[in-house]
């Protein structure tokens, strides 16, 4: 996880004709460690107007939700070791997809409460933006994934991968859902060009303006865990996850995930930021109808072909 920051800074450095961190350790590999240490030893200011309980709690909620969501991503097929079924991930739930969508939407509480409890106006605006953005794009995310579930006939992530391992990856069967998912995933994780909640040039730092030290680090880690989760989910749902020839499962998932992570960084280096109203209009007036149409079309096609 920590190496996501290193990866991002190196890649974005290359894209921006500079080097990125390269002084701490070989190729800057110890940079995340140094950053973490620095944040550990940093004074953690709690503003006088901040809420005493919610202010420290908010980053913890964010991180917890991000970590918990990651649990259902399968790294490989379920195997039997000594008669006990060992899932290929941390857990293989029958309702894995529902669990993932549910848990990851808890993360928005962290952002909203963090923004509100700071007692600063920039934080409040950032928090409100985060709330509006995340809930709007969660719908799109949910609808895009429902279409895939419709094709797969299961909510278990392992089942979804199994369905693709024997046939076509769902990116071919569900291209519209994939694009919807991609846009929604970038927006869900508050990454550029949808990084409005923390738009540094408008809101200074958005919902985490007042946070410092480890509390800031929690928000920061949560964001990157979320990016990894949505990348892994994209690989799982649309690109057959761990299945692939020659290499063992986790390697394939990692390679596919890395491609998505690179895409995230690439987008950040290339695109300017949308404006709040444009963001909402895109979600509610363009993507939502599109997602519904895609779902209905999928339902009709599935009904006809089966």
């Amino acid at each position: 996880m920590a190496y996501m920051t290193w990866f991002e800074r190196r890649v974005i450095g290359r894209l921006q004709v500079r080097l990125g961190p390269n002084r701490v350790g070989i190729g800057g590999l110890l940079q995340p460690l140094a950053d973490a240490l620095k944040l550990f030893f940093k004074e953690d200011v709690r503003p006088a107007r901040a809420d005493r309980i919610l202010f420290p709690l908010a980053p913890a909620i964010s991180l917890f939700a991000a970590l918990a969501a990651f649990a259902v991503i399968p790294f490989g097929p379920t195997t039997r070791i000594a008669g006990v079924e060992v899932p290929g991930g941390i857990a293989n739930l029958q309702v894995g997809l529902l669990y993932l969508v549910g848990i990851s939407s808890l993360g928005v509480y962290g952002l909203v409460l963090g923004g509100w409890s700071s007692g600063s106006k920039y934080s409040l605006i950032g928090g409100l933006r985060a709330a509006a953005q995340v809930v709007s794009y969660e719908l799109i995310l949910g609808l895009a994934l429902v279409s895939v579930a419709l094709v797969a006939g299961t909510l278990s992530l392992e089942g979804v991968v199994g369905g693709q391992a024997n046939g076509l990856p769902y990116v071919i069967l569900q291209p519209v859902a994939f694009l919807l998912y991609l846009v929604a995933a970038v927006a869900e994780t508050n990454r550029a060009p949808f990084d409005l909640p923390e738009a540094d040039t408008e809101l200074v730092a958005g919902y985490h303006t007042e946070y410092g030290g480890m509390r800031f680090a929690m928000f920061f880690i949560a964001e990157y865990v979320n990016v990894i989760t949505v990348s892994a989910l994209a690989a799982t749902m649309f690109f057959a996850g761990w299945s692939g020839p020659f290499l063992p499962g986790p390697h394939w998932l990692f390679i596919k995930m890395l491609a998505f992570l690179f895409l995230f960084v690439w987008l950040r280096a290339t695109l300017p930021r949308l404006r709040y109203d444009q963001l909402m209009r895109l979600s509610w007036s363009v993507l939502l109808p599109l997602a519904l149409i895609n779902l209905l079309a999928t339902a009709v096609v599935v009904a006809v072909t089966r």
Binding site: K121, I125, A192, E202, T270, L271, P272, R273, R275, Q278
Partner: protein
């Protein structure tokens, strides 16, 4: 009195105070201070925003955080000593700051700079325009979220700063212009390098444009945002690229040519829409025109002296001063007393990268200005900000600030 005020409002194009700040206690939810410590107010500008949700219902621009009293300080300095102060007004375009003062003093003294001096000054001014516009493009793009353009722009600007370093020895505060010429002739071989740079620059500019002009998000963020009509722009005193983005082709380089601009073949880009995108297009096209001017300067660079051949104004060269007694005395006296200017007053304006940079000098016949007043383009352009952001959203404020290209060193002086 009330009628006078009414007339005054009429005379500034019918703008009423209410139309600028529609502040109503019942209408706003929140008052937010944007600045002076804010990442995208381009320095220490403070904008007090009355917000209703994300919408702006009122703005109050507050300045003065960077006031250093440059105009007053100038009164105790000789004209040559004022030049370093002008570096510190618009520090993103220190060369044109120098140039504005020197042109004004030359007009006061009715001096004629020799052709080579004029050509070098023109070329340097246009290079400075490129450097200044590059900073503008980079920061403007970054304000809207395109961070990569910022770094690309600084890479190109670095090359220009290298040239300036070769000319003046400094990379930010050049003090290269002198009354009656420049501090020194162009170093050997540099003109060729600059010419090669222009070729490189045109390619790089196209690259940056590709990232922005054709980008849907960029268009959505800039088109139809921060609109100011030509009448309003004139009423508020908007000049430079910001004015030409409203469709008025007023450029001092064409209107009252100074330096070598009369000999140059170039166009004034004008875009009529008056929005952020129009101002963006103007500056991008202006950079291409600047490249044309630089190339013409280099191609037709005359030989000869770069300074006025007048021992009162130009001190003798060091080699001469060290070998001839009279020259040495002359050099000494020049450094002690500088040169007097004829009694009178002059207002002279040049086209700085930001707009009309005017210097108003009152001389009592001594070697120091009796009063020196700078008409900074940033200050006047900043007045347009409340007009630009009416009815817009928070995110548009930074786009609008970026689009009028202000430098707080020049606003506050």
């Amino acid at each position: 009195m009330a009628t006078d005020l009414e007339q005054a409002r009429q005379s500034i194009g019918g703008l009423s105070v209410e139309s600028v700040t529609e502040t109503g206690e019942g209408r706003r939810d929140m008052v937010v201070n944007m600045g002076p410590q804010h990442p995208s107010t381009h320095g220490v500008l403070r904008v007090v925003l009355d917000l209703q949700g994300e919408n702006i219902v009122g703005t109050d621009v507050q300045i003065g955080y960077l006031h250093r009293g440059i105009e007053k300080l100038s009164e105790a300095r000789t004209y040559t000593q004022v030049i370093p102060l002008t570096d510190r007004t618009d520090y993103t375009a220190a060369m044109t700051g120098n140039q504005g003062l020197c042109v004004a003093v030359e007009r006061l003294m009715e001096l004629e700079v020799p052709p080579r001096g004029r050509y070098i000054r023109t070329m340097i001014a246009e290079l400075q325009r490129l450097a200044s516009h590059l900073i503008w493009l980079g920061t403007h793009a970054m304000d809207i979220g395109a961070a990569t353009v910022f770094l690309y722009c600084f890479r190109e600007r670095e090359r220009i700063l290298d040239f300036f370093e070769a000319f003046s020895g400094a990379r930010l505060t050049y003090s290269y212009y002198r009354v009656g010429g420049v501090a020194g002739d162009a170093p050997p071989g540099i003109l060729q390098q600059i010419y090669e740079f222009t070729n490189y620059f045109v390619d790089r500019l196209a690259e940056n444009e590709e990232l922005l002009t054709g980008n849907d998000i960029w268009l959505a963020r800039t088109q139809g945002v921060g609109i100011i009509s030509a009448e309003e722009a004139v009423a508020i005193g908007l000049t430079g690229p910001s004015l030409r983005g409203s469709g008025l082709a007023y450029d001092i380089r064409k209107a009252e040519p100074y330096e070598a601009y009369a000999d140059m073949d170039f166009e004034i880009p004008v875009f009529p829409d008056g929005d952020v995108f129009a101002r963006y297009r103007v500056r991008i096209e202006e950079m291409k025109q600047s490249v044309r001017i630089i190339r013409q300067c280099i191609e037709h660079m005359p030989d000869g002296p770069v300074n006025v051949q007048d021992s009162r104004v130009t001190p003798p060269k060091r080699e001469v001063a060290m070998t001839h007694m009279e020259s040495m005395i002359n050099h000494f006296m020049w450094n002690i007393h500088s040169f007097p200017t004829p009694k009178g007053e002059v207002y002279s304006a040049i086209e700085s990268p930001k707009g009309e940079l005017g210097y108003y000098i009152v001389s009592d016949g001594s070697n120091k200005p009796y009063r020196l007043r700078i008409r900074p383009p940033s200050f006047c352009n900043l007045q347009a900000l409340p007009l630009l952001v009416r009815g817009q959203m928070i995110a548009d404020v930074v786009a609008c600030i970026g689009s009028i290209d202000i430098v707080l060193g020049e606003v506050d002086r």
